[in-house]
């Protein structure tokens, strides 16, 4: 009697153990398969979204050049085909976190800050921008998928000053992979000097061509410029084998004061730009500079030449406080270029550049939500051209239903 009972007990124990083990293994296989399937869906969605963003101009196709709200989202240049993005549509994206919104009391408006380096500024009226929620809705992923788009120049063109008795600038060009040796550099130096006839500053322009060495570097000398006393802006375009990039460097002589001028893009469709006194934006206290400025719009041609174009209110005076209105100028909205503003207060000189179309100064834009703390994020990478400049678009997509 005891033998069959033990036999039954042993067999049941072994059977239960075997079943438990097999269920656990099968469960693991199924869990992996479900995870793979979910991740594959996110990866496919990332590909779809990337195609929509890079290969369709949106609706209306020229929404980037207008101040209307788009009915369909896409960043492709409506006048081109393939992986060509519109420099204007990208300017209408609200940078991640607003990029640090700037409030200008004289217009009562907030402006998105695209966070350029010193000497550059791109502040676009929030009313002209489209935000992440709207974009997600237009892309059909609102509430189901989150995403972040990073649009960055392929080439990193960094410029630094080499200690010397006169101005020597070191230009380094490198991509995500390697330094770019043998690249042709088209550079433009705009030096700000005093006008002997009036208070408005003058611009002395010079340009040249150089080439990077095997380390992707080049030294460019300006014997006529003294870094300690001269204000200037330097823009360089690098290109090799179909790869194009841009970098800039700026030096002000402001005696420890912050920059005097803040340019705000008032209307993208009309190309109107406000030239505001910085003390009206951030009250730095007295003394308040009485600023004279000289503005020029430089159109970037296909051959990487900066061609000056006449604009309205190219010279003017701005000051701080009530009764001291800001000035407004207008650039040709259909032309990509740089609004170059030189300013002066006594013997203090400075410059500020506003890119019209993000590519002319190599502006990077990060748009969307933050993917940190997400369980799994699919990424897509594409090479694109933005008005002749090489850019890379990286798209991160994640599911919101995990």
């Amino acid at each position: 009697m005891a033998g069959p009972t033990i036999d039954h007990m042993v067999s049941i124990i072994v059977l239960v153990a075997a079943l438990t083990l097999s269920f656990a293994i099968y469960n693991q296989i199924l869990a992996n398969a479900i995870a793979y399937e979910r991740h594959r869906q996110v990866a496919m969605k990332a590909m779809d979204l990337m195609d929509i963003i890079c290969l369709s101009p949106g609706n209306p196709p020229d929404w980037g050049r207008s101040d209307c709200a788009p009915l369909g989202f896409g960043l492709q240049d409506p006048e081109s085909a393939g992986y060509m993005l519109s420099p204007y549509s990208i300017m209408r994206l609200m940078p991640l976190g607003g990029g640090g919104l700037v409030y200008y009391p004289k217009t009562g408006s907030y402006y998105n800050n695209f966070s350029l380096g010193p000497g550059g500024s791109l502040l676009v009226a929030v009313g002209d921008s489209i935000n992440y929620t709207t974009t997600a809705r237009l892309l059909g992923v609102n509430g189901s998928y989150g995403f972040q788009i990073s649009i960055t120049p392929t080439l990193n063109v960094s410029i630094s000053q080499v200690p010397a008795s006169y101005l020597i600038l070191k230009v380094k060009v490198r991509g995500p992979g390697l330094p770019l040796s043998g690249a042709t550099l088209n550079y433009y130096m705009h030096q700000v000097v005093a006008n002997p006839n009036n208070s408005f500053p003058l611009i002395k322009a010079q340009s040249g061509v150089a080439q990077t060495d095997s380390a992707g570097s080049a030294l460019i000398e300006f014997p006529s410029i003294d870094d300690s006393s001269d204000a200037y802006s330097f823009v360089v375009y690098a290109h090799l084998g179909g790869l194009n990039g841009v970098g800039y460097y700026s030096h002000d002589v402001l005696g420890g004061y912050p920059q005097f001028i803040v340019p705000f893009i008032k209307n993208l469709e009309q190309g109107t730009i406000i030239i505001a006194h910085n003390w009206d934006v951030h009250n730095f206290g007295p003394p308040v500079p009485n600023v004279f400025y000289n503005a020029t719009f430089l159109v970037l041609t296909e051959n990487f030449e900066l061609r000056p174009v006449q604009i309205v209110n190219s010279t003017g005076q701005v000051n701080y406080g009530a009764g001291k209105p800001y000035n407004t100028t207008q650039v040709p909205a259909s032309e990509s270029g740089i609004l170059f503003i030189s300013y002066r207060w006594g013997n203090k000189f400075g410059t500020i550049m506003v890119p019209w179309g993000i590519s002319t100064l190599g502006v990077s834009v990060t748009f969307g939500d933050n993917p940190s703390d997400r369980e799994w994020v699919a990424t897509e990478l594409r090479q694109v051209i933005v008005n002749g400049m090489s850019y890379q678009v990286k798209l991160a997509v994640w599911s919101l239903k995990d």
Partner: protein, 448 residues
């Protein structure tokens, strides 16, 4: 003991099932599903490198040319460090109908093959040395027609804002002369008189010719046809120059011309800057050297074309203002592609001619509407034609482009080509190796 043995059998069956299942349920490696989409990255890389034709230029250069090295540097610099590439160029040759691909050269930053996990994309590039030429058939065939373009230096234009008659004449000559055996510019109103009188001093064949008036709503008038001139009776009557327009209609019919009005209301003014020099000799908008004829001009032109008598009282306004954008007819779209002429899309017409109703020029003057450029538009129950060629059953034709200023002469050119339909023979010449295939293979290094 028996039960334990049975359970062991069950376990063996379960393990067997598990083994068989795992054989079939093979999950792909993570990289295959979630790795960078190398194919699209390769496509976008090829497109961006060829945005300014750098890739095309390089593909046709010798492998020792510095452009190959530049392309290698550009590829190395632009791709992420963990991605290796192989860019290969093949020449495409066709011998006896068999297409063969021959390796020209390749550049890579990897040693050996890129592995089975690699992806590739390709594109065709064309040599910049290749020339695609077209040989147009001459209009008229064995009896080629002559093209006369009014380029009178003593005439002013109207509704050609931004242009001059002379600049338009030059452009029209460039666009149309390949389709005509002979193209002659009529450089003064004196030469125009010779043309109207079939003088041998003007070259070309007057019969069956095409005459283009480049002065918009104004038409040059020779001095002889003006008041007090030797041919006043053919040009001036009762204080109006509508008689001149009637004469032009007659000449168009007799010589079987195709008279072309490039914009606006046809023959609405007459112009001669040497004769109309008075302070009131202007078109009421400050353009001097011309006299207004008004609607009587076109009416009498059409009367002359239809062999009807001149009427000084026929001053009925014909055209309508179409207050919406126009659409090309399917015929115009097809022939636009055929001839490679692409006018600005969706223009407006403020001088469209009626083709139905009591004012219809088709029924009143025995005309046939041909080469209709835009879809007809209905205004107050009457159909209007913005641009077409109206041919008369007894000879002669009027091409009337009734669009709003400023003129788009591509529409004039296309309408004439639609009317005559000359064939064009496309040819390709240059090197035989005109296209090359470029493939870019990418592979990801590291990871699983």
């Amino acid at each position: 003991m028996m039960r334990t043995v049975e359970v062991l059998f069950v376990i063996i069956i379960i393990l067997g099932a598990f083994m068989i299942t795992t054989q079939f349920a093979v999950l792909p490696s993570p990289r295959q599903i979630f790795g960078t989409n190398l194919r699209e990255l390769a496509v976008s890389t090829l497109q961006t490198l060829d945005a300014k034709y750098n890739l095309s230029r390089m593909a046709f250069k010798d492998a020792s040319d510095p452009e190959w090295a530049a392309m290698q540097k550009a590829l190395s610099a632009s791709l992420p460090p963990n991605i290796v590439f192989n860019l290969t160029v093949f020449s495409i040759n066709s011998t006896g109908g068999i297409v063969t691909y021959q390796l020209v050269s390749s550049i890579s930053n990897a040693e050996g093959d890129l592995g089975v996990g690699s992806e590739s994309a390709s594109c065709l590039v064309t040599s910049s040395d290749v020339t695609f030429g077209i040989t147009p058939e001459k209009i008229g065939g064995k009896k080629p027609r002559t093209l006369y373009i009014l380029n009178c230096n003593d005439a002013n234009g109207w509704w050609i804002t931004g242009y001059t008659g002379q600049s338009l004449a030059s452009d029209l000559k460039n666009l149309l002369s390949p389709y005509f055996q002979t193209t002659i510019l009529i450089n003064s109103t004196a030469q125009l008189e010779l043309l109207l009188n079939n003088s041998t001093q003007i070259g070309g064949t007057k019969q069956n010719a095409v005459v283009i008036n480049t002065f918009g709503e104004a038409v040059p008038i020779p001095r002889a046809y003006c008041q007090g001139g030797s041919r006043e009776s053919e040009g001036y009557s009762g204080g109006s120059y509508a008689k001149y327009c009637h004469t032009l209609g007659i000449k168009t019919r007799v010589y079987n011309w195709t008279w072309v009005s490039i914009v606006g209301y046809p023959v609405y003014y007459v112009t001669n800057t040497n004769f109309f020099t008075g302070s009131s000799d202007q078109n009421t908008y400050g353009i001097y050297g011309m006299k207004q004829v008004g609607a009587a001009g076109l009416n009498n032109f059409l009367r002359g074309l239809d062999n009807q008598a001149y009427s000084s009282s026929d001053t009925q306004w014909l055209t309508a203002d179409i207050r919406e954008q126009l659409q090309f007819t399917s015929e115009a779209l097809d022939l636009s592609n055929y001839y490679g002429i692409y006018p600005a899309p969706s223009p407006m017409a403020s001088r469209a001619l009626p083709v139905t109703g009591s004012l219809s020029i088709v029924s009143r003057y025995h005309l046939t509407r041909r080469a209709t450029m835009f879809e007809l538009k209905t205004v107050s129950g009457v159909q209007y034609c913005p641009a077409a060629t109206f041919s008369h059953t007894g000879g002669g034709a009027l091409t009337a482009i009734g669009l709003t200023r400023t003129p788009d002469i591509r529409i004039t050119v296309l309408d004439l080509l639609m009317y005559y339909r000359p064939s064009i023979y496309k040819s390709e010449f240059g090197a035989s190796d005109t296209s090359r295939l470029v493939t870019l293979q990418l592979s990801q290094q590291g990871g699983t």
